[in-house]
């Protein structure tokens, strides 16, 4: 992982989380209602990008690509899948962070011009892995 991957990670995981929150609200109101095509298009785009980013190791289900519009997925289906992706993103983050002075840091490959350590790695500030209790 490098700095660019962290950028992509933050963008995708932020988007996943906000879509998850939006659709969770709909799902609480009517879990069995269908998701409209407009929303589904963007959910699918996000999931597609996540699949590419997560690679085989971190993808939640190897046989799930994207939602099929013709399957008329329901709110609760989308919430279920998005929550899996959010978990997997967190797993990837947990595997790439270290605790240091003042908190938790991404520990990733540095690039030319970065002040790297002896292993060629840099630290980028992040938050504590969610699975760890205070």
């Amino acid at each position: 992982m490098n700095k660019n991957d962290v950028d992509i990670f933050e963008k995708l995981s932020g988007q996943l989380l906000s879509v998850y929150e939006e659709i969770s609200l709909l799902s609480k109101k009517s879990p069995n209602d269908a998701v409209n095509k407009f929303k589904l298009k963007f959910v699918n785009r996000l999931i597609g990008a996540s699949n590419e980013y997560l690679s085989e190791k971190y993808r939640p289900f190897d046989d799930f690509e994207v939602f099929d519009e013709d399957d008329v997925p329901q709110n609760s289906d989308v919430v279920f899948i998005l929550s899996q992706y959010i978990q997997c993103f967190e797993k990837l983050r947990s595997d790439n962070v270290v605790v240091g002075v003042g908190g938790w840091y991404w520990y990733v490959e540095g690039e030319d011009g970065d002040s790297t350590d002896e292993h060629g790695m840099i630290k980028i500030k992040t938050v504590k892995p969610k699975k760890l209790k205070d």
Binding site: S30, N32, D33, A34, V35, N36, K37, D70, D71, V72
Partner: protein, 487 residues
Amino acid sequence: MAEKACHGVGSATQVGLTQALGEQIDENIVELIRPRITDHHGIYKGQADLDFAIQFFDEDIPLYVDPFLLWNSPSQQDQALHTAITNSFNYLNFLSKKGKPELAIDILVSLSECDEVGLGVSKTRKGSKISRAQAQEILNLFRDIPEYSQFGFTHFEIIQLYIQGISKDRISDFSCNYIKSFLIDYTTEQCEINDIPIEGVILDSVYNYQKNALDINQKAYLPVNPVSKEPIIFTPKRWLRFNPWINYEDYFKSHCPRDEVFNPNEPVERVKVLNFNRENYGVVEQYIEYKVKTSVDCKNDPLFSQIPVLSAKRKLADILKLDTGKEDGADMKYEDLSADLMASLFYPHLDFAQTQSRTESGRHIRDLIFYNNRDIDFLDEIFADYDNRQLVIEMKNVKKIDREHINQLNRYLQGGIGRFGIFLTRNPLPKAMFQNTIDLWSSQRKCIIALTDEDLRLMVDVYESKQRAPIEVLKKKYIEFRRSCPS
């Protein structure tokens, strides 16, 4: 106008085209259930997409042309047509006063039935004309009521309030006949737009507005009923209502001074009201004034209107509460509730044709039949792959669909109904029965899918939320089925 239509539109090419198409298509007519002119000619447009009311071949559309809608229309053309109707009607007064009452009666009798427009409640598309005595009664209004004698009618449909036996169907027929020439042009125009074949026909009579007389045996180019070869004339949807804005029932219910018409405890007879009206022109005039004032509320009635969301939810809740089987008429209730629900859920993608009852092998079967408008990819696919010009949904309030149910539907899937059929039932097909349907597809390329309570629930959910169309649930079931079929 009609003459123009005759000369301008009737080309040899069109007649030839009609013949060619007619020969190709006629063999299919018997296969369609409650055939409509568009489906018959392979024009797959829903009622919602067309400007005119689609006619059936074997029965009338239960709507009527309301002349008040023409008067009330923002279109100058419609208003002018209303003026033409009123002027033509008032011309009868002129004829009568000029000593030609017999001619006026002849015209009235001839104009009292218009079979070509196919509106009304006739199951045979044939109506009967009024009697000469009745025509005389209408004519007498000009003599007996000084206002009409002097100024004529402004809304001639008011004659319903004076003459026994004149009601919405006659008003509609008089109106259509007075503007038949325009309607012929309109029909021709719509046929051209929608590629409906037309052919040369002879119409018994067409009212000539210029001469205020009937032109007998007029040639026109119109679509025809493929069975009876009778000409068909279209009417714009915007002119149609179930009841005219001005009608006897409305007058009697809310405007008729009943205490003046009837003595206490006297039986309520229509004739008495009509006689009262004839002697009290002012009361009727006030009613007309009121109707004109409230004309902003006068709208055409749609040929089909969906049930409201709340009603759909209630019907679904009632269905879900029903037990399977026939106890306490549960099967009949299920069928009635489902019919209302499905017709609304699938609109406008599928126009509802009718519920159909049949008995096979001693079992009573009720189907819902829809016209396939082919307006979404899935419907187009079932038309192309399974020849579904119509779509059958067999309703089964049973716990489990068994082999015999599948066999029955399978035997029915042929002709215009196509090879794609649907069970509307309570639970998913048992595994063995589902495999049966897969085998049926593998061997005969026939597709039977089951819509269950769960699917119905989803359809009603999306009907309410408008997030997706309920027809997409049907597509989803089809896609799921096809995924299970061997490739």
